[in-house]
């Protein structure tokens, strides 16, 4: 589904140039659950941002189902993003001024889903995520685990082909963290492709494949079968 070739990304400030991505080659198949790991500053978040069209690389190619995405302009990028991708962040990133229901509804509005359908879709996902009794609350009124459930719900409500998760358990304690990971696994089993950046090898253990990054290079890749059961 995703084919990335020779991706390069350099950050420049007045004094220093930092190479965040240095010729990355990567493929993700449909239905895969891929973890990207590596030390701080290895470029894993940058890679995820590029994959989510939130950041532009200097050079290279990024094909999504045979569409070259790096040639798109700003408007086309956001159109592509809203139609195909969902995001989960470490710090949840819910809009404080909107209720749970409204937060989840927002991507549907951007996708121009009619109001009645919207309501049904939001209600369905709220039930699935087990946050029905929270739908009128504001993010500040929820625990971290609950906030991340809302964020996942928001990422999934548009039924995206690809979910990008950036340290989704980073701000959660282990029991809430596990809940979120199980949620992602469940999604993956239902066919959603997931790419997740993480520090935690525990979390990475939930995925099919682990890619290790260092200094902007892919240094290793391993298939991860059966480990999940082992760890639990």
């Amino acid at each position: 589904m995703i084919r990335i070739e020779n991706l390069e990304k350099v950050y420049k400030t007045e004094e220093i140039e930092t190479t965040a991505l240095n010729g990355i080659n990567l493929q993700v198949k449909e239905g895969e659950f891929v973890s990207i790991m590596g030390p701080s500053g290895c470029g894993k978040s940058t890679l995820l941002n590029v994959m989510g069209l939130l950041d532009k690389p200097e050079s290279g190619s990024y094909k999504f189902m045979d569409t070259e995405l790096l040639k798109l302009n700003d408007r086309e990028r956001s159109n592509f993003r809203k139609a195909n991708m969902g995001f989960v962040f470490q710090n949840f990133n819910l809009i404080d001024e909107l209720t749970v229901f409204e937060n989840i509804e927002l991507p549907l509005i951007y996708n121009k889903v009619p109001a009645a359908t919207r309501k049904a879709m939001v209600n369905e996902i709220i039930q699935r995520m087990n946050i029905v009794n929270r739908s009128g609350h504001f993010p500040q009124q929820l625990s971290g685990g609950q906030q991340q459930r809302v964020a996942v719900a928001r990422a999934l409500v548009t039924k995206p082909k690809l979910v990008l998760a950036d340290e989704p358990t980073g701000n959660l304690d282990s029991s809430h963290g596990n809940e979120v990971m199980e949620l992602l696994c469940e999604l993956n089993e239902q066919g959603t492709t997931i790419v997740m950046v993480t520090h935690s090898s525990h979390d990475a253990g939930f995925s099919n494949r682990i890619i290790n990054l260092k200094d902007g290079h892919v240094i290793s890749e391993k298939i991860n079968k059966g480990i999940t059961e082992e760890l639990i």
């Binding site: 978040s45 941002n49 989510g52 939130l54 950041d55 700003d74 408007r75 956001s78 159109n79 993003r81 809203k82 139609a83 995001f87 962040f89 470490q90 710090n91 990133n93 819910l94 809009i95 404080d96 001024e97 909107l98 409204e102 509804e105 927002l106 991507p107 509005i109 951007y110 996708n111 928001r154």
Partner: protein
């Protein structure tokens, strides 16, 4: 979409209530001031605009090289009528400032400002007296109309529209006149009067030597005004040559046509100070709005941190920059609409006070026609100025950066915000220094020596002409018998802004135009005017009533006379002997320079002497007033029954009214500006300190004292203020110079107002910032850091 964005906007307003209120409140105060001033400027610039022929009406004036006047001789109207087919109507009118009583069975009024005009003048000014505008019969008939108040006093029970007879002058005179009905002068017209007299023709017996009439023309649309001006100039000169008048000065004379639109604010025969004041006000109001817009921009950007996450998420979820820009502009537009509504309420609330101060009848309803298109326009402009920049900043956030969590917005824009703050404070400093300077000048007007003593001088209203000293002598003898009256005199004008006439006078072959003032004995003594050389008029010298003259220093200088006493000065066919020179005194206030003036007891070309002035002993003022009232009909038999008077210092004080008005407006505008600027700084400091809470906590953990942190927080603002002051000072200097130049007599600009403005602005800033900073400094660092 819109609904959700509206929800976000409203919930944001609620969450940042104080700052939102400062934002909207500040803008609405500024807009309210702007609305009031726009209405005022509009009112002042649209005098007579209701006249259907507004564009086509001109007054004929004369440029006499030394000065310009709108007074023209009466035959001019006829020759224009006969020779200029492009002129549709020619009107002439003359003000009759002679105050006299009108008496009916029901009451009595004193009518002062009667406008005597011909039928065409009434048509040009579109007058609608009761019963419609009627053409008078023949050459002699005058149709009299009075204003509403006078009619109510004289004929309280009148229902019909039949003419009524009134007695004119004192009861003993037995003169009567028929009053046709009432006439209501439009307060928004250049033509103001208490009553009018309409005749078919005026000044028939007067030739080109009597320039006592205003000549108005209404031209046919499309007339070439320059050509017409030249034509009337030729006609005028031909007429004067025919009557052999002022042959020598003809070449210096020129006729001009001044459009009706100019007459109120910037008449050619006059000055454009009023116009400048109105324009200055307009600019002031715009500055206030600019300050409020800067506030708005700054506060919106300073709060960007709080909106950054929202922008990031929305972009991730599929929004893009234009959409977000539109969202923020819409949001700001809504705040501006709120401000505008609030501003309209505020304007309505302060309208009566404003109207009182400026003596205008403004109202939102009356100005609706202009406001209707102006307010939406202002709204859009303000939204654009205040909204576009923040909207671009906010919508430009990179989601990849913002969503990481520890994002500090605004660092890259801080110099712009600082720049805006500097501009805002520069304007505030201009206002602070401005008010100090205006204050000093107005103070100076009140305390500076005018060259004469207006205190304890009674000005008695009188209709009896005392042109001959021997007639006034009997009056003086009677008045001087009253205890406490120190001296008595009569003149054609009192020093309180009244204009006297002027004439050409020749000394040693040099001709110059001098103001003439016709006086009686004791004029200089009554007014406390100081003598420079020679003597004043005295009964010891019989010839003083025939050909003695006194000139002022300016007149002596004009002729270049070092020792004028004893020289001959010729004017109005009399060879006067100069018997004395007086020191200049400011009879016209402080704006106009003292004019070269000649004082004489005999002046065939002069005006009637009606203004009686008495110098009274301060301790006995009330006794003198009582005595005069009781004995008035005996003292001044021909004057009538009423003793009416003014104090000269009150009359003279009215000359400063405009400056007092200006001071009041300037003071209010300054207060508003400084208030809005301080509000802005307050909110800005609040946001800045809250953004720096972590830094403050870290510094405190590392051992900084509260005072050191306060100093740190203040210092960045103080730098900006210092720059603002340095930028503002030259501007203040220029503006103050320009304003002070409108005065012939003024204070010198010193360093004090500049320095004081600097100190005041710094103090305001330190207090405002410290109020905010103290809270942040006193917070427990452990709590802050844990929270982070």
């Amino acid at each position: 979409m819109f609904k959700l964005n509206l929800k976000i906007a409203l919930r944001n307003l609620k969450r940042n209530f104080v700052i939102s209120m400062i934002n909207i409140g500040g803008l609405s105060i500024a807009l309210a001031a702007f609305i009031l001033i726009v209405l005022y400027v509009n009112y002042e610039t649209s005098y007579d605009k209701h006249n259907p022929n507004y564009e086509n009406i001109y007054i004929v004036g004369r440029d006499l090289k030394d000065f310009k006047t709108n007074f023209t001789p009466p035959p001019l109207a006829e020759i224009i009528e006969q020779n200029c087919p492009e002129v549709a109507l020619v009107g002439k009118m003359t003000p009759s400032n002679l105050e006299f009583p009108l008496i009916s069975d029901a009451g009595r009024i004193y009518i002062k400002n009667t406008m005597v005009m011909n039928f065409n003048a009434a048509k040009i000014f579109d007058l609608h007296p009761q019963g419609g505008l009627k053409q008078p019969q023949g050459e002699i008939e005058r149709l009299y109309y009075l204003n509403e108040a006078s009619m109510r006093t004289l004929f309280p029970n009148k229902k019909d529209s039949m003419p009524e007879l009134v007695l004119m002058g004192g009861k003993t005179l037995g003169l009567t006149a028929p009053i046709q009905g009432k006439i209501v002068p439009n307060p928004h017209s250049n033509l103001q009067f208490d009553g009018v007299a309409i005749g078919n023709n005026l000044g028939v017996a007067e030739g080109f030597g009597f320039p006592n009439y205003y000549t108005y023309i209404q031209v046919k649309p499309g007339t070439d005004i320059k050509a017409l001006e030249a034509k009337i100039d030729r006609l005028m000169k031909a007429g004067m040559i025919k009557e052999k008048i002022d042959m020598g000065s003809l070449k210096n004379e020129r006729v001009f046509l001044d459009p009706l639109a100019n007459l109120h604010l910037k008449p050619q025969a006059g000055n454009d100070t009023n116009y400048k004041v109105v324009m200055a006000l307009f600019i002031l109001s715009m500055l206030i709005v600019v300050i409020a817009c800067i506030n708005f921009t700054n506060l919106t950007i300073a709060q960007a941190n709080k909106r950054a996450k929202e922008v990031g998420i929305k972009k991730v979820l599929g929004s893009y920059r234009q959409l977000l820009t539109m969202q923020f502009i819409t949001e700001i537009l809504i705040q501006c609409v709120l401000s505008m509504l609030l501003a309209l309420m505020l304007a309505e609330l302060f309208m009566p006070t404003f109207n009182n101060l400026f003596e205008v009848p403004l109202s939102l309803a009356a100005g609706a026609e202009e406001l209707y298109w102006m307010l939406p326009l202002i709204l859009l402009i303000v939204t654009f100025i205040a909204g576009v920049y923040p909207a671009l900043i906010l919508s430009g956030f990179k989601p990849a950066l913002v969503l990481k969590g520890n994002f500090e917005a605004g660092l890259q824009t801080s110099w712009i915000r600082k720049g805006l703050l500097v501009v805002q404070f520069s304007i505030a400093v201009i206002f602070i220094a401005g008010i100090l300077i205006v204050n000093r000048q107005v103070e100076y007007l009140h305390t500076e020596d005018t060259g004469f003593e207006a205190n304890q001088v009674l000005v008695i209203k009188n209709q009896m002409m005392y042109n001959k000293p021997e007639v006034f002598a009997t009056f003086r003898d009677k008045v001087m018998k009253i205890n406490g009256v120190k001296s008595a005199t009569v003149a054609n004008v009192v020093p309180g802004g009244e204009q006297t006439g002027s004439n050409g006078y020749t000394v040693e072959g040099r001709e110059a135009l001098l103001d003439f003032i016709d006086v009686d004995y004791d004029y200089f003594e009554t007014l406390g005017i100081k003598l420079k050389s020679g003597r004043t008029f005295s009964k010891e010298f019989k010839s003083d009533t025939l050909n003695a003259a006194i000139i002022n220093e300016t007149a002596a200088a004009k002729y270049g006379l070092l020792d004028p006493v004893g020289k001959t000065i010729r004017g109005c066919n009399i060879d006067y002997k100069i018997i004395g020179v007086i020191k200049d005194f400011k009879s016209q206030g402080f704006e106009a320079a003292v004019q070269p003036t000649i004082y004489a007891m005999k002046n065939p070309c002069g005006n009637p002497r009606l203004s009686i002035m008495l110098k009274v002993d301060a301790a006995q003022m009330s006794a003198v007033l009582a005595a005069l009232k009781a004995q008035w009909s005996g003292i001044n038999r021909l004057d009538g029954e009423d003793f009416r008077y003014d104090f000269l210092d009150d009359l003279y004080g009215r000359l400063f009214k405009k400056q007092e008005q200006l001071k009041a407006v300037f003071f209010t505008a300054s207060m508003l500006t400084v208030f809005i600027a301080v509000l802005g700084l307050f909110a800005f400091a609040k946001i800045m300190t809250s953004n720096r809470r972590k830094e403050i906590a870290v510094r405190k953990v590392l051992g900084a004292s509260d005072f050191q942190v306060l100093k740190l927080l203040n210092s960045s603002f103080l730098w900006m203020l210092l720059i603002a002051n340095v930028l503002a000072w030259p501007l203040v200097y220029l503006l103050a110079r320009t304003w002070l130049d409108t005065f012939a007599y003024r204070v010198e600009l010193s360093v004090v107002p500049f320095a004081l403005a600097g100190v005041i602005s710094l103090l305001l800033a330190v207090i405002t910032v410290s109020l905010q900073a103290t809270k942040a400094v006193q917070a427990n660092p452990a709590a802050v850091l844990k929270h982070e």
